[in-house]
């Protein structure tokens, strides 16, 4: 009896901690390119690794909305190298691009993953690599292959080998809430909790090198800003002034952190130099100033202020000076963040009483609303600028969604239990282009 109970408890526990994000495409682009990723071959003794490299690559490319990978069951052959490819077969199936590959044991428990991408019509190889990897890194290797294929075929860098951080909230048996800050691969796999608390956690922000995350925790019954190393879990408290300590935003060089503090009476933007620990005020206004975001060139900061009577986006030089209003359409615009190329801002805007995600073209001032929920918030650009991930509501639950910047591709990312919110897409990892 006891054993059975323990077993059930363990199942329950596993169900909660593993709570995976599942991603589905809710709207694909018309004209997605027909392609095929053949399941990768295995040339070693013993059993092949359980990770299906070909399937991971195909799923990544499908998720982008720009490709339509052929279902495995429709394939007429399963070549693993260029020499085995009969281009006529794939032409007959209407396939434009073909990926084949092979996994070989390599070194002590490692693997060598070789892949080739072909233009089916010309019958020529577009790219081919052999990547050494480990059992733990196999999924990441698959995402890197998807990145390479995506870049070769679209001309734009891929963002599959990246991660997302997000906040989850799960109701416990005693009625309390357990709030966690988690990190998962960009396809929702391998979620890991890096902090959890009974008190609110907010505003996760990746450092530009992807090794640290700044966030706000109420664990001491007051909001404070922490910086935590993603890999070691080591952390330090960097701001715990009286009042609000919130909305941390990294400078592009990772040396400074902009933040909102209300220590002087009302919320203003401050800049903390992480090495010297010196803090300087950037805005001084009796209105609410919050939600800073650094421009990619490091020269200016946009923030939300209600100094004009309703929340709007303003921009101020990092060196200080006069803030200029950036948004003029709609009476509620907040939480702007720059696109990686610095030309656009993703923000939350209110249209017809609904809070939606919009992209503002900075040069023209034109705003395009991209989402269609009522309570959409927390937009975050993918590091290649192609998609925006954000939080939305679905049947009363908080889920994540992603939309392509042109509004044509939509994805939904749901947790199997509880609420998930405040997604932030990681920057590219440092080792990304080491081969």
């Amino acid at each position: 009896m006891m054993k059975k109970l323990l077993f059930l408890l363990l199942i329950g526990w596993a169900g909660v901690t593993q709570a995976a994000l599942t991603i589905e495409i809710t709207e694909g682009a018309e004209g997605a390119l027909p392609m095929a990723v053949v399941p990768f071959g295995w040339s070693g003794p013993g059993a092949p690794p359980k990770e299906k490299i070909g399937a991971i690559v195909a799923a990544d490319l499908a998720r982008s909305g720009r490709f339509k990978p052929l279902p495995e069951g429709d394939m007429l052959a399963h070549p693993h190298s260029g020499a085995e490819v009969e281009f006529r077969d794939w032409k007959a199936l209407g396939i434009d691009s073909l990926v084949v590959g092979q996994i070989t044991p390599h070194g002590n428990g490692g693997y060598q993953v070789r892949f080739e991408l072909f233009d089916v019509f010309r019958g020529e190889q577009l790219v081919g690599y052999s990547i050494p990897t480990t059992a733990r890194q196999l999924r990441t290797t698959a995402h890197r292959i998807a990145d390479i294929v995506y870049e070769k075929l679209t001309g734009q860098r891929g963002a599959f080998a990246t991660r997302i951080a997000y906040i989850t909230s799960l109701r416990q048996a005693d009625g309390s809430k357990k709030v966690s800050l988690r990190i998962a691969d960009a396809d929702g796999y391998d979620p890991q909790t890096i902090v959890s608390s009974k008190e609110p956690l907010m505003s996760p922000a990746w450092s530009p090198d992807g090794r640290r995350i700044a966030y706000v925790s109420f664990e001491k019954h007051r909001p404070a800003i922490y910086i935590q190393e993603v890999f070691t879990g080591r952390r330090q408290k960097v701001a715990a002034y009286p009042g609000i300590n919130s909305a941390p935003a990294w400078s592009p060089d990772g040396r400074q952190l902009a933040m909102t503090l209300s220590k002087d009476g009302n919320p203003d933007i401050f800049v903390l130099d992480l090495a010297s620990r010196k803090i300087r005020p950037l805005t001084r206004h009796y209105a609410i100033d919050t939600e800073p975001s650094w421009s990619p060139d490091g020269k200016s900061i946009v923030f939300t202020s209600d100094r004009g009577g309703s929340p709007q986006i303003y921009r101020v030089p990092v060196s200080g000076g006069q803030a200029r209003r950036v948004t003029f359409e709609n009476n509620y615009n907040a939480r702007a963040s720059y696109s990686p190329d610095g030309k656009k801002l993703a923000l939350v805007t209110r249209v017809d009483g609904a809070f939606r995600i919009a992209v503002l073209d900075i040069a023209s001032g034109r705003m395009q609303v991209l989402s269609n929920g009522k309570l959409d918030e927390s937009p975050s650009f993918a590091p290649n600028g192609s998609m925006i991930i954000y939080a939305t509501k679905e049947k009363g639950r908080s889920v994540l969604a992603a939309v392509s910047v042109d509004g044509r591709v939509r994805q939904r990312l749901a947790l199997d239990v509880g609420d998930v919110r405040e997604p932030v897409w990681s920057p590219y990892s440092q080792q990304e282009r080491s081969y």
Partner: protein, 175 residues
């Protein structure tokens, strides 16, 4: 005369109806949530300390016939002005605090889920400050008051409609 008293009773009647509506709509789970957030872990150590201190004052704070038993005031969307209907309640709290200088109070500011989280954290602080300023204007020492904003992070009603939002846009006096 008759007409005036009827006119006067209409808002109360509406309020009663609204209140009845509110108390009947939340599920059992949400009521548990309410209880949890008003006296539970969320209000923290300061609550327990203050309650212990409050014991010898004889607990007028819990007397349902006293305006002191009202410890929550509500706000309009994206606003932080204290509405006139709450002035009597807050004056009663100010009088109580001024005459009990050893008693401390934490004022929590909260928002509904609409709008962005960090902006709402700032808005919640503004609401808490609006209440704190009113109390100090009525003679309460600033040292008796602590303010904290939870923004939209601690809704009392987890619904996603105007009824829930109205209940969540609040400042709470926690003794």
């Amino acid at each position: 005369m008759m007409k005036i008293s009827l006119m006067r009773s209409i808002p109360m009647l509406l309020a009663a109806l609204l209140f009845a509506g509110c108390s009947s709509t939340p599920t059992v789970e949400q009521e548990a949530q309410v209880a949890d957030h008003s006296v539970g872990a969320g209000t923290g150590a300061s609550t327990q300390g203050a309650a212990a201190q409050g014991a010898w004052t004889g607990n007028p704070l819990d007397d349902p016939n006293s305006p002191l038993s009202n410890k929550v005031i509500y706000f309009d969307f994206d606003r932080s002005e204290v509405k006139p209907e709450y002035l009597d309640t807050l004056r009663a709290h100010a009088e109580y605090l001024a005459s009990h200088p050893d008693v401390t109070v934490t004022i929590e500011g909260h928002c509904d889920e609409r709008g962005t989280r960090e902006y709402n954290l700032a808005l919640g602080e503004r609401r808490a400050n609006a209440v704190a300023n009113l109390l100090t204007a009525e003679g309460v020492a600033r040292s008796q008051i602590t303010t904290i904003s939870y923004g939209e992070e601690r809704p009392i009603d987890e619904g996603h409609d105007e009824t829930a939002w109205a209940l969540n846009r609040r400042a709470v006096l926690v003794y």
